[in-house]
Amino acid sequence: MQSLVSAILAQVGGIVLGKPQEIRLALACLLAKGHILIEDLPGMGKTTLAQVLAKTLGLSYQRTQFTSDLLPADVIGISIFNPESKKFELHQGPIFNQVVLSDEINRASPKTQSALLEAMEEHQVSIDGTTYVLPQPFFVIATQNPLIHAGTYPLPESQLDRFMMRISLGFPDIAAEKQILMSESSHDSYKKLQPCVNTSKLIAMQSMVSQVTVSDNIIEYVIALNHVSRRQGFAGRPLSPRAGQALVSAAKAWAFMAERTYVIPEDIQTVFGAVCQHRLESTATRFGDHAEKISNQVIAQVNVLNPFNT
C-alpha cells in the first residue's frame, strides 16, 4: 500500500511541480474521505492539481465550471420528458461522478453552492422526490479565487466547515517555475496520465486509514487545541467538535502515509493549518495571512506533553 502512496505522490508531483507538501495534504484529505477546497489566485495550478489527482486515483470525474448563472439542476441533474417513452427520464448531472471538480465554486450563486454542499454532507441527492445515492468513494474537489476578487459569492462559514481541508498552493519557487515554463503545455501532459490505483484499492486504503489508532493523549491534545480557540479574547472563531473530528481523521491519514499505525502530535500539527485555518478565520479577517498566524498561535499555546497544563 505504501508503494501505491509514493507512486501517487510521484505521479502528481511530476505534473504539479515544487509543491510536495500540498500534494501530500490533498491526498491525505482524500484518504480521510474528506472534501477539499483549493484556494489561490488564478493561474497557480489549482485546476491542474485537482484534475491530476482525479486522474491518478482512477476515478470517474467531471469538471464543472461554476459561474454566476449556473443552476442547481446543472450540477445535480434534471428530469426531462422523453416524448418517445412518454416518461420523465433523469439526466444525471456532474455530481454523479466519484470526483466532482467544482472550479471557482465561489463564482456560483449561493443556491447552486448549497445544492452541491448538501450532496457533500449527505452523499445523496434528491431530484423530484426520489433520492439517489452517489457513487463511492465520493469527493468534491473545489477551487476558489481569493474573496477580494470581483464577482465572488463567499461561502458562508457553515459551508466552509464541510470541507475537511483548505489548501493554497502559493507561488512556485524559481526552479519549479523555470521547469513549468520550459515544459510543454501541461494540458497535454496530464491527459496521457495512467491511473495508479483503482476504486477497490482506494477503498482499501481508506479503510486502513480508519484503522490507525488514536490514543487518549492525542485526543486530549486535540481538545486542548480546540479549547485554546474557545478562550475569551481569541482572535479567530472558536473550533467546533466537528473541526476536532476532521483534525483527527486527517491526522490518521497523515500517519498512514508516514507508514505509522498510530497518530503522533506531529501529525496533528502538520495537518492543523490545512484543516483549521478556514474554520478559524472570521469574515472580518479573511485577508492576508492572518489565518495562518492564528493557527500557529493556537499550536504554540498548547503543551504537547501535558495538554491541559500550559
Binding site: T213, S215, N217, I218, Q232, T261, Y262, V263, I264, P265, E266, Q269, I299, A300, Q301, V302, N303, V304, L305, N306, T310
Partner: protein, 685 residues
C-alpha cells in the same frame, strides 16, 4: 435577548443537569410531604409537572404572567390559611411553594443558585420535623446530591462522577466542624413551636371503647425506649401506666377532667412525702418518640422527687400517672425512679369513691344482675375479683385482635354472646362488674412489657405493646392492679403479644416491616442492631440537652469561661482546616507522572542545562531533529529514544509490548546520558 448571542454570558443548563436539578427538587420536597397541606401539594405538583414538561419540550414554557398569577394565588392561599397553619407551617409552605415555582423561571445563573440554596434550606427544615437517624442520613445524602448538581454545572456536561465525589468529600470534610459546633455551640431552645394539631397524634387516645386498641396492636412504630440504671423488673411487672380512665358512659371510658389538673399534695389528697415508698427503687431513663400528646410513661409508683431533677416540666397526677406540660413534639427524655412494689394507696375520698363506683343506671342490665349475684356470693372484694377472673378463665372466652363488631349494650353482648375480645373488652367488663358489685374500680391504659435489646442494653416498647387493664380499690392496700387479660390469655402477659401472634397476619400487610420476620434469626439480629444504633443516636445526639452540654463542658474545661469556649471553637476550626489542607495537598500530588513521561522530562532537563530547550508546543518527533542538528553524535540514540517514547505515549500497546518499549527506552536513555557527558568533555577541551 442581547445576551443570547454572547456565548459566554448566556446561562444554559445541560439537559442532564437540568433533569438532575429537577430530581433533586422532587426528592427534597418529598421529605416534607407529610407536613404540607393537600392544596399546597397540589400546587407544588402542578409546578413540578410543568417544569418536567418544559424539560421535555422547551416551548411549553409558561408565560410570565401565568407564573405571576400562580405566585399571587399561592401567596393568597397561604395567607388565608395562615391562622390555621400557624407561623412555622405557613413559612414552610411559603418556602416549598417558592422552591417549586422558582423552577419555572430558571433563566439566569442567579436563578439556578437560588434554587440550589432554597433546596438546602428545605433540607434543613426537614430536620425540624424529624431527627431520627434514618432521616438525618437521608438529608445528608440529599445534601450531597444537591451539591453535585451545583458542581456539575461548572464542569463539562455529562460528567457526574467527579462532582459527586467532590461534593461528598466537601460534605464529609464539614462533619468534624459540625461535630465541634454541635458539642460546643450554646444550645438554644427552638424559636418555633411545632404545631400539634397538624401532626397526627400517635399512641393511645384519651378515651377507650372496646375494640380500640386492636389497631394499635397492628402498628410496629416505636413508642418509647427505656434504659434501666438498676435491674430490669420481670416482664410481667412492666406495666407502663399512661392514662387512668374513671368515667364510663356505658360504652366508652374517659378520663375525669377534674383529675387532670389535680396534683398530688393538693387538698383532698395526702401530701406526697407521706406516701410510703417501699421496696427497692428502680431508676430508669425514658426516651419518648414524638406522640403529640402530653402523656408520659412510667411504672407505678413514681417517686415525685425524682421528677424534679428533669429539664422538662413533668407533673404527677393524683392517679399516679405523669404528664408533660406541653405535647411531646420532639424526641424527649427524662429520668425517674419508681418503687414497683409499693401500693398506689392514695386514700379514697367520698367524691372519688362515688366517681369510681358510677355506672350508667340502665346500661348492660345482664352484667348488673350478675354483679348483684356476685355481691351476695362473695362479700370480700378480693374474692369477688377472683371469682370474675375465674369466670373469664373457665368460660369459653377467646382472645383475638379481630373481635366481632358490637352494638347496643356492648359489654353484655360481649360477655354473654360473642365472647371474643381484646384486652380492652376484658378490662372493661371486669371494671364494670366490679363497679356494679360495689368495688371502686377504674380502667388503666398503657403499655405492657417491651423488647430487650442486648446490643443497646435497653428496652424498646412499640405501639403493639399497648394494653389496658383494671385497678380496684382494696381497703388497706389502695389501688390494686388486676389484669383480666391474663386470665384469658396468660401468654400475652408473660411474653408479649408479638410472640404470641407471630403466625397470624399480625402486622399490617407491610412486607418491608422487619417485625414481620422476627422468626428469621438473621433478619431479627439485623433489626435489633438497627434498633440499638437508633437508640444510641437518640441517647447521644437527640438527648444532648443544654444540661448535658454544661456537664460535659465543665468536665472538660473546669469552669466555663467565654475565652475557653471561643478558644475551643477556634482551635477546632484551625484543626479542621489543617486536615482539609493536608488532604488537598495529598490530592494534588496524587496524580503521578507516567514513568516514560517522567523519564523523557528528565532528559529534557539535561538538554536544557546544555542550552537546548524544547518549546512546549513542539512534538517530540520534531524535537529529535533539533537535537540531532545540535548534537550529531546523539543522532541514532535520540531518534530511537524518541520513537520509543512516542510509541509509549501514543500507540495502543499490549502489556508485553509496553515492557519491551520501556526496556528499549531505558537502554537509549542510558546511552544518551553517557553521550551527553562526552559532549560536555569535548566542549570543555
Amino acid at each position: 435577548m442581547k445576551n443570547s448571542h454572547d456565548g459566554l454570558q448566556c446561562f444554559s443548563l445541560s439537559r442532564k443537569n437540568a433533569w438532575g436539578l429537577f430530581v433533586c427538587q422532587c426528592l427534597n420536597l418529598s421529605l416534607l410531604i407529610s407536613e404540607l397541606s393537600v392544596w399546597m401539594l397540589a400546587i407544588i405538583s402542578l409546578c413540578l409537572c410543568w417544569r418536567s414538561l418544559t424539560l421535555i419540550k422547551p416551548t411549553v414554557k409558561p408565560h410570565r404572567y401565568v407564573v405571576l398569577l400562580l405566585a399571587c394565588s399561592g401567596c393568597i392561599a397561604i395567607a388565608v390559611n395562615g391562622r390555621e397553619l400557624g407561623v412555622l407551617l405557613s413559612m414552610l409552605h411559603l418556602l416549598c411553594f417558592a422552591y417549586s415555582l422558582k423552577s419555572l423561571e430558571l433563566t439566569t445563573r442567579k436563578d439556578f443558585y437560588q434554587i440550589i440554596l432554597l433546596g438546602i434550606f428545605i433540607l434543613a427544615s426537614v430536620l425540624i420535623f424529624s431527627q431520627s437517624l434514618f432521616m438525618s442520613l437521608l438529608v445528608f445524602g440529599l445534601l450531597i446530591l444537591n451539591l453535585t448538581v451545583l458542581l456539575a454545572y461548572f464542569l463539562p456536561p455529562g460528567k457526574y462522577k467527579q462532582p459527586f465525589i467532590n461534593s461528598a468529600k466537601m460534605v464529609i470534610q464539614s462533619i468534624p466542624l459540625a461535630v465541634v459546633l454541635f458539642i460546643v455551640f450554646p444550645r438554644l431552645s427552638p424559636f418555633w413551636q411545632v404545631p400539634s394539631a397538624k401532626s397526627a397524634q400517635t399512641g393511645l387516645s384519651e378515651s377507650v371503647t372496646p375494640g380500640d386498641i386492636a389497631h394499635l396492636a397492628r402498628s410496629s412504630a416505636l413508642a418509647f425506649r427505656v434504659n434501666f440504671f438498676t435491674d430490669i423488673p420481670q416482664y410481667n411487672q412492666l406495666y407502663w401506666r399512661v392514662m387512668v380512665m374513671d368515667e364510663f358512659d356505658g360504652r366508652t371510658w374517659q378520663q375525669n377532667k377534674n383529675n387532670l389538673s389535680t396534683k398530688i399534695g393538693k387538698p383532698d389528697n395526702v401530701p406526697v412525702d407521706v406516701l410510703p415508698l417501699t421496696g427497692l427503687p428502680t431508676r430508669y431513663q425514658v426516651m419518648v418518640e414524638p406522640s403529640y400528646q402530653p402523656w408520659l410513661f412510667s411504672l407505678a409508683v413514681v417517686d415525685p422527687k425524682s421528677l424534679l431533677s428533669n429539664q422538662i416540666d413533668i407533673r404527677q397526677l393524683a392517679n399516679y400517672t405523669i404528664k408533660k406540660s406541653k405535647p411531646v413534639s420532639q424526641t424527649t427524655s427524662y429520668e425517674i425512679t419508681s418503687y414497683t412494689h409499693s401500693f398506689l394507696n392514695s386514700p379514697l375520698g367520698d367524691s372519688e369513691r362515688a366517681k369510681n363506683l358510677h355506672i350508667p343506671a340502665n346500661s348492660n342490665p345482664k352484667l348488673q344482675a350478675q354483679a348483684i349475684e356476685l355481691n351476695g356470693a362473695y362479700p370480700n372484694e378480693i374474692e369477688r375479683a377472683q371469682a370474675v377472673l375465674d369466670m373469664i378463665r373457665e368460660q369459653d372466652f377467646y382472645y383475638t385482635l379481630s373481635p366481632p363488631l358490637l352494638s347496643g349494650d356492648v359489654l353484655d353482648q360481649f360477655f354473654y354472646q360473642t365472647k371474643k375480645g381484646f384486652c380492652v373488652h376484658y378490662a372493661s367488663v371486669f371494671t364494670f362488674l366490679m363497679r356494679a358489685s360495689g368495688v371502686p374500680a377504674r380502667l388503666v391504659t398503657g403499655y405492657l412489657g417491651g423488647e430487650y435489646n442486648k446490643q443497646g442494653g435497653h428496652l424498646s416498647i412499640y405501639q403493639y405493646d399497648a394494653h389496658a387493664w383494671a385497678e380496684i380499690w382494696v381497703k388497706d392496700k389502695g389501688w390494686v392492679r388486676v389484669d383480666p387479660t391474663a386470665a384469658v390469655n396468660p401468654e400475652r402477659v408473660e411474653s408479649g403479644l408479638s410472640q404470641m401472634l407471630q403466625q397470624d397476619a399480625f402486622f399490617n400487610n407491610d412486607l418491608l416491616n422487619l417485625h414481620r420476620y422476627k422468626h428469621l434469626a438473621l433478619i431479627n439480629t439485623f433489626r435489633l442492631q438497627l434498633d440499638a444504633l437508633d437508640y444510641q443516636w437518640t441517647r447521644l445526639v437527640l438527648g444532648y440537652s443544654s444540661a448535658r452540654q454544661y456537664d460535659l463542658l465543665t468536665q472538660w474545661f473546669g469552669d466555663l469561661r467565654a475565652w475557653k469556649i471561643g478558644g475551643a471553637i477556634g482551635g477546632s476550626l484551625f484543626l479542621v482546616m489543617i486536615i482539609m489542607w493536608l488532604t488537598n495537598i495529598k490530592r494534588s500530588k496524587s496524580k503521578p507522572l507516567v514513568q516514560w513521561l517522567a523519564q523523557y522530562q528528565q532528559i529534557l532537563a539535561i538538554l536544557k542545562a546544555k542550552g537546548l530547550e524544547k518549546p512546549v508546543a513542539m512534538p517530540a518527533s520534531q524535537f529529535s531533529m533539533l537535537v540531532t542538528q545540535q548534537f550529531p553524535s546523539l543522532t541514532v540514540s535520540f531518534i530511537s529514544y524518541t520513537r520509543c517514547f512516542d510509541a509509549l505515549m501514543y500507540q495502543v500497546l499490549t502489556a508485553k509490548q509496553k515492557e519491551e518499549y520501556l526496556t528499549d527506552m531505558n537502554k537509549y536513555q542510558q546511552q544518551i546520558k553517557v553521550q551527553l557527558k562526552k559532549v560536555q568533555k569535548n566542549t570543555e577541551k
